[in-house]
């Protein structure tokens, strides 16, 4: 679904509109100034420095050879300082840990200066601290820069604690709303088969059945 929203894959059915315009009417460059993405795939070029990688997010705005203007450099620096990457900005990508690399990829999306950022499972391969760190960072970005941040995740517990709105995707009936109202509606109760885990609506977490 996220891939379709980001126009990586064509829609199976239905229409998508962005700012009251059908998504397919946007040109590649126009879309690139509205939606930026953070994907699960690894980037093939690990020898880029952090700042070079983040600067690539400015491509929709640069001229035909891709020279960075003063505005571009400023946007790159804003993204770096917002995410706190100053200390590692001249490091090469192969020197970074998974958590650092994920933050760099988020900074790249941020420097693209779009109203929407779409992230595909931004917390995979991270330990619980960095999972919380990344999700908290996303929340902070959404508040400070007033961007819409859309991500898919398997960390339902954390999403309940941090997200403004959640879409619970189930094969039968999917539900959308604020975390609290979804808990009240019991949307999480039957998400998984009940033999191993069950949802505790008081704490908003899943418990393993012993």
């Amino acid at each position: 679904m996220l891939r379709t929203l980001a126009r990586v894959q064509p829609a199976l059915s239905g229409d998508i509109t962005l700012k009251n315009e059908p998504l397919h009417t946007y040109t590649g460059i126009q879309l690139a100034t509205e939606i930026s993405v953070v994907l699960t795939e690894h980037i093939p070029a690990k020898n880029l420095t952090v700042i070079e990688l983040i600067a690539l997010g400015r491509q929709p705005y640069t001229n035909w050879v891709g020279t960075l203007s003063q505005v571009d450099k400023q946007k790159v620096n804003e993204a770096i300082s917002l995410i706190g990457l100053e200390t590692i900005k001249h490091k090469k990508c192969y020197e970074l840990s998974d958590g650092q690399l994920q933050r760099v990829m988020i900074a790249r999306a941020l420097s693209q200066d779009t109203s929407i950022i779409i992230l595909d499972e931004p917390t995979t391969h991270l330990d619980i601290y960095h999972k919380a760190y990344v999700l908290n960072l996303l929340k902070r970005i959404a508040r400070e820069t007033e961007k819409a941040i859309l991500f898919s995740t398997h960390e339902i517990d954390m999403a309940i604690q941090l997200c403004d709105k959640i879409l619970v995707l189930d094969t039968e009936n999917s539900s959308f709303g604020e975390p609290c109202s979804l808990i009240e509606k019991g949307s999480f109760q039957h998400l998984f088969p009940g033999d191993l885990v069950s949802f505790d609506s008081n704490s908003g977490t899943f418990k393993i059945n012993k």
């Binding site: 980001a6 990586v8 590649g28 460059i29 879309l31 690139a32 100034t33 939606i35 930026s36 993405v37 994907l39 795939e41 690894h42 980037i43 093939p44 070029a45 020898n47 880029l48 420095t49 700042i51 070079e52 990688l53 600067a55 690539l56 997010g57 491509q59 929709p60 640069t62 035909w64 050879v65 891709g66 960075l68 693209q112």
Partner: protein
């Protein structure tokens, strides 16, 4: 991004080195000509011997210019292919350009004995060989373009290019099996590659082709940098994948194709020079890499050509053998020294 400016010293150094190698290349050859006389003839003054000036202007100078063009074009097209296929083993010929050219020349030289009468009236000269090579690589490239339109995956395109290469190679094998000894030798000599067969008219034509290829390459710099993030990210920052893929393939075909047509299938340079440049410049930014690979390619080719003509002797060695003998140890040494491949 690290801009070109931060590499200014390296660039000035290579350019000086390139000029020096250019002069050395011109002043050395099977006939000994004093350095002073070389300068004289370059600047249009009369030399002590009429023949010296003739050798310099009509033989050595076009050869050195060809060496520079060959080095530049093959290294840049190698870099382009390595970037869009995200594969360090890709080179200018992965799309079957050289195998197409080989097929064209093989049919032209060796086929004439089998299909007697059709080609028999042709004189087998360097110009008609070049035409045969161009036709061959054009046919293979055209098939690649048709296929590229059908497949979405760039990796599939790489495999298809290799398969086309295998098909043409086996056709060449079949032809060689049935052909006469002399024709086979002629074909083998072509496949060794040669820089010295070009007249000034051909050099001018080559310059035009390389120039067009370079313009297309410069236009693609932005999308090449985007391809460093992978195709999905590239699309997300507004790159038109299909258009830039065609643009890059066209640039490669023009660069590598025209070189192969005039100088034969020169191996190794296209594969090795991009690696050499990445190791020495430690960057992947194409703003820096493209001019740097072009200069290193020209430099390496001039050095190889100087070695190949074996100064002050009557021999000259096949250029294709020399490029690997000179270039491969350099790459191996760099990889061992840095202990890490930069790609």
């Amino acid at each position: 991004m690290n801009s070109l400016k931060s590499y200014r010293v390296q660039f000035i150094f290579i350019i000086i080195l390139l000029c020096a190698c250019f002069l050395i290349n011109i002043s050395l050859g099977s006939v000994h000509i004093p350095l002073k006389e070389v300068f004289k003839s370059l600047f249009g003054e009369s030399t002590d011997h009429q023949s010296w000036q003739y050798i310099i202007i009509n033989y050595r100078l076009p050869k050195a210019v060809t060496a520079i063009l060959v080095g530049m074009s093959l290294s840049i097209s190698g870099l382009l292919m390595q970037t869009i296929f995200r594969n360090p083993l890709a080179g200018p010929f992965v799309l079957g350009i050289s195998s197409g050219a080989s097929l064209g020349v093989a049919i032209f030289i060796m086929g004439s004995s089998i299909f007697t009468g059709i080609f028999a009236s042709f004189m087998i000269s360097s110009v008609s060989t070049a035409i045969a090579a161009t036709l061959g690589s054009f046919i293979v490239l055209f098939s690649i373009f048709v296929v590229a339109n059908k497949v979405r995956d760039t990796m599939a395109l790489l495999i298809i290019g290799l398969m086309f290469g295998s098909i043409t190679a086996s056709i060449v094998n079949v032809l060689s099996y049935f052909t006469s000894k002399e024709k086979l030798q002629q074909y083998i000599f072509w496949s060794f590659g040669s820089l010295g067969n070009l007249s000034w008219d051909q050099v001018y034509l080559l310059i035009c082709m390389v120039f067009i290829g370079l313009v297309l390459t410069v236009i693609s710099i932005k999308s090449l940098n985007a391809f460093l993030l992978g195709e999905n990210y590239a699309r997300s920052i507004g790159v038109n994948l299909k258009k830039s893929r065609y643009l890059i393939i066209t640039a490669t075909s023009i660069l590598a194709g025209s070189i192969t047509a005039f100088a034969g299938p020169i191996a190794f340079i296209g594969l090795a020079v991009p690696h050499l440049t990445r190791q020495l410049f430690n960057t992947q930014n194409h703003h820096v890499l493209i001019p740097a690979t072009a200069l290193y390619g020209a430099l390496l080719m001039l050095i190889c050509d100087t070695v190949a003509q074996v100064p002050n002797s009557e021999f000259s060695l096949p250029i294709n053998a020399i490029t690997s003998i000179v270039g491969a140890p350099v790459i191996i040494w760099l990889l061992i020294r840095k202990r890490k491949m930069i790609f």
